[in-house]
Symmetry: D2
């Protein structure tokens, strides 16, 4: 379980979400309120779009609360679309390659949640990564595998359809393997232009996810960064939020196929 923020709108300093608010992402790194654990100290990451098509990444294994470089970058870098993530490992190692966000070409992805039984499923899931993307796998997380799988099944042209396909495929693999633990996902995806967020749990208990739209920006967050709770809307379970810079966000249902559970032999 982790905590994250995604922003699209008028360029702001990353710190305006990451460091400055009362319940900023850095504050959440040791005081998360709506997660299973309050500590998200297993590394963190920033991904931001600047002047280039490809996003920049800054990922580090220190806790977000103790990294001076993070404070500097958050104060200096301004972006119209960025992701930030603080990590609480569900078992994989604390390494930069396992820190979110993940980038591929112009795409950026981050995740909070867990593929239940990951160590037993890993081989089957990695087998679904297409050849062209296999060499891009740099860590061992379920999250990065989910990203590459989604890109591999048309994520660049139909992100919502591809994520639906990924989640359906993961559920099928989990049921095949007899895994009872749930699949729980909140995730964000972007190509530097549109911004997508996803919320899903196979057991009806997805991680928290909120969004707020103002005249100048869309903010999507694991936990509201301030106390104006009335401004923040929960993203419904089994839904995607589809946003672009100059349009209203749209909530779209995620038609994930739930496989029939095989009868015990």
């Amino acid at each position: 379980m982790c905590r994250w923020v995604a922003y699209s709108g008028q360029p702001i300093f990353l710190g305006q979400l990451v460091a400055d608010p009362e319940h900023s992402l850095i504050h959440q790194s040791r005081n998360a309120e709506e997660a299973k654990v309050g500590i998200n100290g297993d590394g963190f990451g920033l991904g931001w779009y600047g002047e280039r098509d490809e996003p920049g990444l800054y990922r580090e294994t220190l806790p977000a609360w103790s990294d001076d470089n993070l404070r500097h970058i958050a104060r200096q870098v301004r972006s119209r679309l960025f992701f930030a993530h603080v990590r609480a490992s569900t078992g994989t190692a604390t390494s930069r390659a396992n820190c979110h966000p993940f980038a591929h070409g112009r795409w950026l992805f981050m995740h909070n949640g867990q593929i239940g039984g990951w160590s037993r499923l890993r081989r089957a899931v990695e087998a679904r990564i297409p050849d062209a993307l296999y060499a891009c796998r740099t860590g061992t997380t379920d999250s990065e595998a989910m990203f590459l799988m989604t890109l591999g099944q048309g994520g660049e042209t139909d992100p919502v359809g591809a994520m639906t396909g990924t989640l359906s495929a993961l559920r099928a693999l989990m049921v095949d393997a007899g895994i009872d633990e749930p699949l729980r996902v909140t995730a964000a995806l972007s190509d530097g232009s549109r911004l997508y967020a996803f919320r899903y749990a196979s057991d009806g208990r997805p991680p928290s996810l909120y969004w707020r739209q103002t005249a100048s920006a869309i903010e999507i967050v694991s936990e509201p960064v301030d106390r104006h709770r009335d401004e923040w809307h929960a993203v419904p379970d089994r839904s995607a939020l589809v946003c672009c810079a100059r349009c209203a966000c749209e909530v779209v249902p995620l038609a994930v196929e739930e496989p029939a559970r095989a009868e015990a032999a």
Copy 2:
């Protein structure tokens, strides 16, 4: 504020205090129960005596809970006298040089607590480090300065007297500088043979400190590592615990001089 353990006795694997017990030091790194903060994730350190006169050190900026090297060393290294420490910074940077324990020659030191108003006092405190030890200062913590000051005023021959002198001098400097914040200290010191622990607070609220003596060992800990609460004794405030490998520990009062507070001008 930090948490620590010190051990002297039959050689054991470091992990027997650091990693294995229900409320081991690694467990305390994110679940401390008797400290102001539950998270001690700003680095950690091990110091142990093996075959050489000088102790070994392993210090790292990652949280103790996520460091694989720590797990390995704790499983492999056996020692008759060792220190382990998890750090919660009171303001100074997360760097190896600021992680405890600190070593000088055959001496090892670690600290939990705070010299109130440290950034205002630092220059005056560092001025008390003798020339011969000044080049050994590698970090910026109040703790390392306290160690070098103590060594500098006879710590190698009379540890209890020298620590009493250090605390008295610090209190005088604090009052001179008009600092109202307290001086709070629990600390451990060893030359590889005898083991000293100190508990002191200028405001009567010292950090927690416990000790247990068995047939084979002495354990001194910020928090008991197991639930046998009846075996653990609190070290009294303003006391030192003086232990050697084959004798009973002795509780000795710390006669710290409290300066008269200057009248407001």
Copy 3:
């Protein structure tokens, strides 16, 4: 390309090979003389057998020359069988998981060399890792994959046969994929009792590898650590060196099968 040392014999401090000699492994980390590059600064690692069946590991991303923890561990830890490795990446990231040695159960492995065309071969090689070991894959190097492949084909009972099989399989995969770059390997493997070293290159240009046997120990090294060149023997290309604590080392040919190169279409 990397540099490494392996030791089996009377317990010595790791530093006696790693830090103390004129051309110690730490010295080689920035002054290698028989490698393509003189700098081996992309992380390092120690693996050693102590009182437990499983080896201890210490791996770090800093260069070996600047890590104080390494100096301490090398001074304090004594072992009858240990590996040490300084890394020069051939393309994969500088992360602890990509640092050698690799451990699995009681087995330890390290490698110097390269599987030519690794990014194109990675998927096919990882497919050869058996299910039971797949979850143990923590990094992205060719070296760790080679280790798990070797364990997977009987490495625990017939190390020389299994390594021969791995190298033959790799060569077949390389030729299938039309890869012209060579396969070059020097590697060490141990179960804590016997010690195996391997030297092989598909193009007749294997990395350097030497060994020396004294009354009390066997040392196997990428480069001699001292200037007594007459004491050091080169391990022949396409050979294994099989050593045990109380017997003379034996040089055994490695019967790697070289696949016929497919005709160009």
Copy 4:
């Protein structure tokens, strides 16, 4: 000894000096040609001016050549005035606090060279840091001390005069202490508007330093980043280079006072 680059002019991506040229600063980090050592792998740093008065800092202990975050920041961040530095330690630890550049308020500083006999001089030099700046000392390098000393003697209003004073004071301290090793300095200093570079050696052997002025920019470098050697001018020994965004750079002599050497007793 280290290598660095400083830039002032039309905003460019940091990578245009740090990563892209044939002999970029990253290339110099393992292939320096005009320094005593070719390897500058003891950490690195970036300091850049963006939209704020204070510069941003990114400093890391990994070698510059293996840090993915550096590559990303250099590709994404554009600046009109920036410093970049790769470090070869002359004895102090590899820590972020010892990496250049150093920042204080709107000022940025970096250094290549050495105060001879630093460990013996450290106390006397640190005593020259004024009270107001003492708490800003976060590392143990001679370089950071030189920076704070210079700020402390009027560096913010008369940088050339203050640096001259610092160098004169250092020379006096060195001679007093009977230190025969030289004082060698190339350094850069900026307030985000003007850019100063200094070259000085007490023994006539200063580290290399070059500059190039074009219609749009000033570049000052330890080693030319490309092979157009005719475009680069050596900064003379005992000189400062004073540059502003819209004026020609000026070479100014540095009137460092050389103390008379005390007669041997």
